[in-house]
């Protein structure tokens, strides 16, 4: 399935979303005019460096951007035909944890240290379902078993679990109400590699079981390759390349995405040094008027310094925000 086809209404549509942080030191343009779509049961990865606006996008979908200083300036977030940005606070509370769940980056701190893990799972179940205490406990035990933790550990506290186990508990909380959309904010960054694989595996199984769509936020291209259907590469608050996993990984068009792949170590090649992307991401409170990747781009031309390119379709819904893809400039 490509990002473009399948017609009809999409499950989640984010259109022209703009989120700013208004601080004393000026306006931080964290998310600039991004759009993407997801179908039911699909996984979309948001990839990018630290500070590219991935987490802000996720918080925007949940209406959890800290305000002040954060502010959604414009755009639409349409879930199942309803614009989430038009919902009031009680309506959003009903959606959070029920229709949309989020898994946070650090399992060490995303559980309440003084409540038993079971009670924390039961809490979300009782928040969104009219069930008796005993039934909530029963369902919480079932969820624990589903993520691979024996139900006997219901009464244990978070500090009695290892990092990977904690992340499983977090997953159990997120999936307890069978959400339709699961947002994962770097769910495996705080875990070591073997545990990462296990957790990803569990997530994939449960995602299939619950028919959940997943928005995966990560900077790990390996995780992307393992989990995603579609990929959106973010840079300085914009989506610079957007397409199916195959389009982005095999037919990489944007110079930034290419540079990302080039900076990965290759097991088949013997190199002295990795090839980093030179320079820094631009200051989001002072973005250039031209292409935001201009300063670091190895393919830049004079024309790039003059205009901010739009997203060009490089074929089959493969969107690339670069003049190269638009054919306006030639590869040097």
């Amino acid at each position: 399935m490509t990002a473009k086809d399948s017609g009809g209404t999409k499950f989640l549509q984010v259109k022209n979303l703009i989120i700013h942080y208004e601080t004393d030191n000026g306006v931080v343009e964290a998310v600039n005019n991004i759009s993407f779509e997801m179908n039911r049961g699909e996984t979309l990865s948001l990839v990018g460096e630290t500070g590219a606006g991935k987490t802000t996008t996720a918080l925007g979908i949940l209406s959890l951007v800290p305000n002040p200083p954060g502010k959604v300036i414009g755009g639409e977030i349409i879930l199942d035909g309803e614009n989430l940005l038009k919902k009031n606070a009680p309506q959003m509370r009903k959606i959070r944890g029920n229709k949309i769940s989020m898994i946070f980056q650090d399992p060490m701190t995303s559980l309440n240290p003084i409540e038993t893990v079971g009670a924390q799972i039961a809490e979300v179940i009782r928040l969104h379902n009219k069930v008796s205490r005993a039934e909530a406990i029963q369902r919480a035990c079932d969820m624990l078993e589903k993520v691979g933790i024996p139900a006997e550990r219901y009464t244990d506290f978070p500090h009695q679990f290892s990092g990977g186990m904690k992340q499983r508990v977090v997953i159990a909380i997120a999936l307890a109400c069978s959400p339709e959309l699961l947002i994962c904010d770097e769910p495996t960054s705080a875990l070591d590699v073997t545990i990462q694989a296990q957790v990803l595996d569990t997530m994939r199984q449960l995602k299939d079981e619950f028919q959940t769509s997943m928005l995966m936020i990560t900077h790990d291209l390996g995780v992307v390759a393992e989990t995603s259907d579609n990929v959106a590469v973010m840079y300085a608050g914009e989506i610079v390349e957007y397409g199916t996993l195959r389009q982005v990984f095999k037919d990489t068009r944007h110079p930034y995405t290419r540079a990302l792949f080039d900076s990965l170590p290759d097991i088949g090649k013997d190199v002295e040094r990795l090839a980093p992307i030179k320079g820094m991401t631009p200051d989001p409170s002072n973005l250039p008027a031209c292409c935001s990747f201009y300063n670091r781009c190895s393919h830049r031309t004079e024309r790039c310094a003059q205009i901010d390119p739009k997203a060009y379709d490089a074929g089959d819904g493969h969107l690339v925000k670069c003049l190269l893809a638009g054919g306006e400039v030639r590869e040097p």
Partner: protein, 314 residues
């Protein structure tokens, strides 16, 4: 302290028993292999400290005096016998008798209940008020925070004993008014402490996670933030208990608290003051009990603070 809903756990344990594959012994073994709950751990650390245990024993003795005075005191507090005025401490009246021939020991025992009641309820109400105001200020921040905290600053800028005197002289002297006076001058301290600890806790990710599962503000404050801020509140409460007992005695001493003939310690000091040159036991024993009460509470509070601090874990 871990907040565990007992019915939930019981229901769970029932269910666990129902599970065939979980033999009874196996569950127990499992419970022992994992570490003990936080409050058991804290209790163990507490009883390892001799000073804390000493404070706790004295304090418990005073509490039992307050709860069952008639069992401990040999006589009633108002048993006047004019045949034994100003008897020095002896075998019959171990703390002597006073100007009306009442047994000083019995009066001291009955007096414990006033100090304990005032201390306990004053601490309870200032904890509640201070806790709620402090957590609201910390949670909502900016303008709400500013308004609440400046209001508390105003109260704190009035000397607390003067404020209490003003309140009791307006409301009249009674046990309830004494509690109100002490709470009003005390609760800003609790609010400050709660605010400070919640400011730290609310930045942690589990609070955001609670929002992400759709918890309301009130739920986050009462279920996730306040229980996590419990340790400093408990410590402040024990220190505050000593202060409240002292305030209660001071206000009674100057005649704005418990009125004679009721045997409040401060009141006893105040009436005994006239006879201090000749009959020292009229003031020494009530005074000693005030000191003992505050001292034991402070020792206990110190030990509690250390026991609740996980960084001092061995």
């Amino acid at each position: 302290m871990p907040k565990m809903s007992t019915p939930a756990i019981e229901a769970f344990q029932k269910k666990q028993k129902a599970r065939p594959r979980l033999a009874a012994g196996q569950g127990k073994e499992n419970a022992e292999s994992v570490s003990v709950p936080l409050w058991v751990e804290s209790w163990r650390r507490l009883v390892r400290r001799p000073t804390a245990v000493l404070g706790m024993i004295i304090f418990l003795a005073l509490v039992s005096m307050a709860l069952f005075p008639s069992l401990i005191a040999p006589e009633g507090y108002d048993n006047q016998q004019f045949t034994r005025l100003f008897l020095p401490p002896n075998g019959q009246n171990i703390m002597g008798t006073d100007n009306l021939g009442r047994d000083v020991f019995s009066r001291v025992v009955y007096g414990a209940s006033y100090s304990m009641r005032v201390g306990f309820f004053a601490v309870l109400s200032s904890c509640l008020f201070g806790g709620v105001l402090g957590s609201i200020a910390a949670f909502y921040g900016s303008r709400v925070d500013n308004i609440i905290m400046r209001f508390l600053d105003i109260i704190l800028s009035i000397p607390s004993i003067l404020l209490a005197i003003a309140i009791t002289s307006v409301l009249g002297a009674s046990l309830t008014n004494l509690i109100i006076a002490i709470s009003v001058s005390d609760f800003p301290h609790y609010a400050r402490i709660v605010r400070a600890s919640i400011l730290g806790i609310k930045e942690q990710e589990f609070v955001e996670a609670a929002r992400a599962i759709g918890a309301s503000d009130a739920r986050i404050i009462f279920r996730h933030l306040l229980p996590n801020a419990m340790a400093p509140i408990i410590v402040q409460a024990t220190v505050g208990l000593g202060m409240s007992i002292l305030s209660c005695a001071s206000l009674s001493f100057i005649g704005l608290g418990i009125q004679p003939p009721l045997p409040e310690w401060g009141t006893m000091l105040s009436t005994g003051r006239e006879y201090i040159r000749e009959y020292w036991w009229l003031v020494v024993f009530p005074g000693m009990f005030i000191m003992l009460a505050v001292f034991s509470v402070n020792l206990f509070g110190d030990g509690l603070r250390d026991a609740l601090d996980p960084r001092l874990k061995r």
